[in-house]
């Protein structure tokens, strides 16, 4: 079999993040026909480290990875300095992943674990050079705000949320600096019910974690989770 380049002009750099050795073997077998450069990483943290050093054209990432899972690794890659934050990330799945699952995450698309060389090539061509840094469609009918029928009220609610987000960050920064546990607890609860209306699972997961940290008086975790929430809020809105 004669080997060729996926894109005619220059060899591409592709990173596969896969912890399973058998799957890595399968990927190697499927990619022998291409002259492009294929690299492998076995866990999420290592993938983030690699992506921060090398500007890959595309990353294929398994979701259930040790050390750091695929979603988290993808999110971390999105926070890298430009242009590495814009690498398209494709989830590797066993058919269980749907477009709904990746909505609101940093994963752009997915491919079946047992892809053919043609499928791989098509996916790469589809995503190469594309804007991967995605902002999710906000306030869609998936969110409780999006389900409000009165358009005027809906617009007003979005405005309120944007203002609340700024206030929350300002007040939380202050309360954390003063170590005011009571206020932190109160602000977290207030924001939690607003986040419930926005319908971004990622935000919900983090604020629930913050609530738990607060109850367990785990201030270190709470702070880390808050920083993550703050970053995401600023990223999305």
């Amino acid at each position: 079999m004669s080997s060729f380049l996926i894109s005619e002009n220059s060899p591409l750099r592709v990173l596969f993040v896969e912890d399973n050795e058998v799957n890595r073997f399968y990927i190697r077998a499927q990619t022998t026909g291409f002259k492009d450069s294929f690299e492998f990483s076995e866990n999420g943290r290592d993938a983030v480290a690699k992506a921060s050093k090398t500007l890959y054209d595309i990353i294929f990432m398994d979701i259930n990875l040790p050390v750091m899972n695929g979603y988290e690794a993808a999110r971390k890659i999105r926070t890298l300095p430009k242009p590495n934050n814009n690498i398209p990330i494709i989830g590797i799945t066993n058919d269980s992943l749907t477009s709904e699952d990746i909505e609101g995450t940093s994963i752009n698309d997915f491919i079946n674990k047992f892809f053919s060389p043609e499928e791989l090539q098509a996916k790469i061509k589809l995503w190469k050079g594309k804007e991967a840094q995605k902002k999710p469609a906000l306030f869609t009918s998936n969110s409780l705000i999006g389900q409000i029928k009165d358009t005027e009220a809906r617009t007003k609610m979005i405005e309120i949320f944007l203002r609340q987000k700024d206030e929350f960050i300002k007040d939380m920064d202050e309360s954390i600096a003063q170590n005011n546990e009571k206020e932190i607890f109160f602000l977290t609860h207030k924001m939690k019910s607003s986040i419930e209306l926005v319908g971004i699972p990622e935000l919900k997961r983090i604020i629930e974690q913050m609530e738990k940290d607060g109850k367990e008086k785990n201030n270190l975790n709470l702070k880390a989770n808050y920083e993550e929430l703050k970053r995401l809020l600023q990223h999305y809105f």
Partner: protein
């Protein structure tokens, strides 16, 4: 029953966004009028709701206090409108406490909150209708009792008069 007359809701909710969300959802589901209080102070100082509110919807965590104080204030003032408590905390102890204090339901603010709230409101309205019916029946019954004792008295008087006349 619901369409016959407007239902008056009073909200106690400090989160402006959630208050607006609730108001919109209540309007989508009921022919109603919604009044919102943002603070406990505002709520306790609002004297106009007493005669009008059919159902109170109270958020549990409030700045400088909690929903329990609002329930207690309503109960002290002998306001018997139904009270539904909303909370972002899934805490059984709070639920037990507010129900003991006289709330008719405790709802956690999650995706199903509105569905549950609407259900709780229907339940509360039904309860109120039953209580009203019970009340009118009692009045009717009392009227009847007074009337019947009156008849009985006259009858006894008549018999006595007839006996004496003989």
């Amino acid at each position: 029953m619901v369409n016959e007359s407007k239902i008056f809701f009073t909200l106690l909710e400090d989160n402006e966004l959630y208050a607006m969300f609730l108001t919109e959802k209540l309007k989508e589901n009921f022919n109603c009028h919604v009044t919102t209080n943002k603070t406990l102070k505002e709520f306790l100082g609002d004297t106009t709701f007493e005669s009008r509110t059919d159902i109170f919807i109270i958020d549990y965590s409030l700045p400088g206090g909690n929903g329990m104080e609002a329930i207690k204030a309503l109960k002290t003032n002998k306001i018997d409108s139904e009270i539904i408590v909303l909370s972002s905390q899934k805490d059984i102890q709070i639920a037990v406490d507010v129900l003991k204090a006289g709330a008719c339901d405790y709802i956690v603010k999650n995706e199903e909150a509105i569905e549950r709230l609407v259900g709780a409101i229907y339940k509360a309205l039904k309860l109120q209708a039953l209580q009203k019916e019970n009340f009118t029946l009692k009045i009717k019954f009392n009227k009847y009792r007074i009337f019947s004792s009156f008849i009985f008295f006259i009858l006894v008087a008549l018999i006595t008069i007839v006996m004496f006349a003989k």
